[in-house]
Amino acid sequence: MTMAQQVTGDADMLAVDGVSVRLGGREVLRDVGFAIRAGEFVGLIGSNGAGKTTLLRVILGLQQPSSGTVRIDGAGHSRHSPAIGYVPQKVLLDPDMPVRARDLVGLGLDGHRLGIPLPSRGRGQLIDEMLRAVGAAEFGNERVGNLSGGEQQRVLIAHALISRPRLLLLDEPLANLDIRSEQEIVELLASIAREQRISVLISAHEMNPLLPVMDRVVYLAAGRAASGTTDEVVRTDVLSKLYGQHVDVIHLHGRILVVAGRGEGPAETIGDDGAHCDARAAADWR
């Protein structure tokens, strides 16, 4: 277990090696490295501002790293890789915009093509199939802007999956979801990873909802990363080194709290929205 674990192996679906990113003179990511194998479910955990979105953008080819490499399925990186499916944090669609869920899923199939999509039976069936697979069939004809957060996430996941990617990247899909939708989305993603052997990299500021399904974790703090199994990474010594200050890792009823401070004064937790709150409030966490 090192801070920037060296990447190895030919079977890696995604290999990030020594990636650093400077944005406006600030070092957002420093020597980040980890690898994901086929069918693995990996959580990218860190508070807001830890660099999760930047890291995802580097993997997607939307952001050029100042140094380091990203390899997808053993191949060098191009800006548009058909192997990657991407679910953004949110989409900009007002409720009155005439774009139905199934339209958006269809754009995942051929949104880059020129011309008007001709209604073909094969295309329609593929879209229906995908909507059913993510449990979005019943609102397939509704406007995307009218859907709830959880429903929108399902549609976005269908959009990303319909082109049959082997790596699925999701940017904070659980943010702003109620507890039930959160669990449903996590279960959906886990079954997709398991059944279709798709590698999933999901960013979140809260790791607890992902604990039951995560194969491994990439923990980001202050632009640096530690990766491995939850037991290897989410430990007092590893995270203290990562944060550059002492933090305690507390296990509580199967959940994990990361708490800053050494007992002098009220302890603070690190995580949720980057906010610091006292340990009593933290015990109410899901």
């Binding site: 991407y86 009155d96 005439p98 774009v99 880059h112 011309g115 008007i116 509704e142």
Partner: protein, 299 residues
């Protein structure tokens, strides 16, 4: 029946040459504005569209000044302004509004000068009125082929870029990941929009062409949830407003106060607004909602 028809369509309507040119050119231009406008609304570029429309006044008045067909003034300034807006940062939403505002302000300053010169130096009476409020009934027959060609061009851009445009208006990141050249797509669309509003400036006037760009699209939003159908509705609503407007302008020839006809642009814009109001009626909204519910329960 014939009597009633004669009351609505005054005799000589279809035989009149300017009316026929107006129906043809006005109809084509309205169709293009409606179709292009649906994407203006989807992409949240109404301000850019309005600015390009207003700037037509600069090009139109300049063209009158040097004695060129105003169509070339409208189109020339539209394309140039779109290029400048793109160059100074129309990409980010806020930078976009600022860039648009800067170009709009500078352009309208020139329009003030050109219109003043039109009225005083070259003594082109009526130039101001026709630049600002259109000249549907005095479009020369020789201009029609150019109008048709430019319309076809703008339509072709939107039809070709239909999917990339739609996806990049949902999320530029999703579009880029899918392999869409987001920047180039946006630039091409901006130019198509410039051409569309320039054409509408010729028919219903530089400052009214926004109405044909935004109004039909805003109305179509209420009628359907299907993107393709909304684009179609938007175009048809624009055409309907224009044709009805031409008819009413013809009919209004004997209306008070001057018994010289009311301006056609007034009718077109008012009809666009009326259609919009009708679409906002709760009954129309209920139809839309019922369809959505039906879709939900009926699968």
């Amino acid at each position: 029946m014939t009597h009633l028809l004669r009351m609505i369509v005054e005799p000589g309507f279809f035989a009149n040459q300017p009316v026929r040119v107006a129906l043809l050119a006005g109809g084509v231009v309205a169709l293009v504005s409606g179709v292009v406008g649906m994407f203006t609304v989807l992409r949240g570029q109404a301000f850019a569209g309005h600015a390009l429309a207003d700037l037509g006044a600069t090009g139109g008045s300049g063209a009158f000044l040097i004695g060129v067909n105003p169509l070339w003034g409208f189109v020339g300034i539209g394309v140039a302004a779109a290029g400048v807006m793109e160059a100074i940062g129309i990409r980010r939403p806020r930078g976009r509004d600022v860039a648009t505002g800067i170009v709009l302000g500078a352009g309208l300053g020139l329009a003030a000068l050109f219109l003043y010169w039109d009225a005083t130096v070259t003594n082109t009476t009526g130039a101001t009125l026709s630049v600002l409020f259109g000249s549907m009934f005095v479009i020369s027959g020789s201009t029609v082929p150019f109008i048709a060609a430019l319309s076809a061009l703008a339509l072709a851009v939107v039809v070709l870029l239909y999917r990339p445009l739609l996806l990049s208006s949902v999320s530029t990141d999703m579009a880029t990941v899918r392999g869409v050249a987001v920047r180039a797509t946006g630039t091409a669309y901006l130019l198509a929009m410039a051409v569309a509003v320039s054409l509408a400036a010729l028919t219903i006037g530089a400052i009214l062409s926004t109405a044909l760009l935004i109004g039909p699209a805003a109305t179509a939003l209420r009628l359907t949830s299907r993107t393709g159908l909304a684009v179609l509705w938007s175009g048809l609503i624009g055409v309907a407003a224009t044709w009805l407007g031409i008819l009413l302008a013809w009919d209004s020839f004997y209306w008070p106060p001057v018994r010289h006809g009311w301006p056609v642009s007034f009718f077109v814009v008012t009809l666009v607004f009326l259609f919009y109001l009708i679409a906002q009626l709760p009954a129309v909204g209920r139809i839309g909602r019922a369809r959505a519910r039906q879709a939900r329960t009926g699968g």
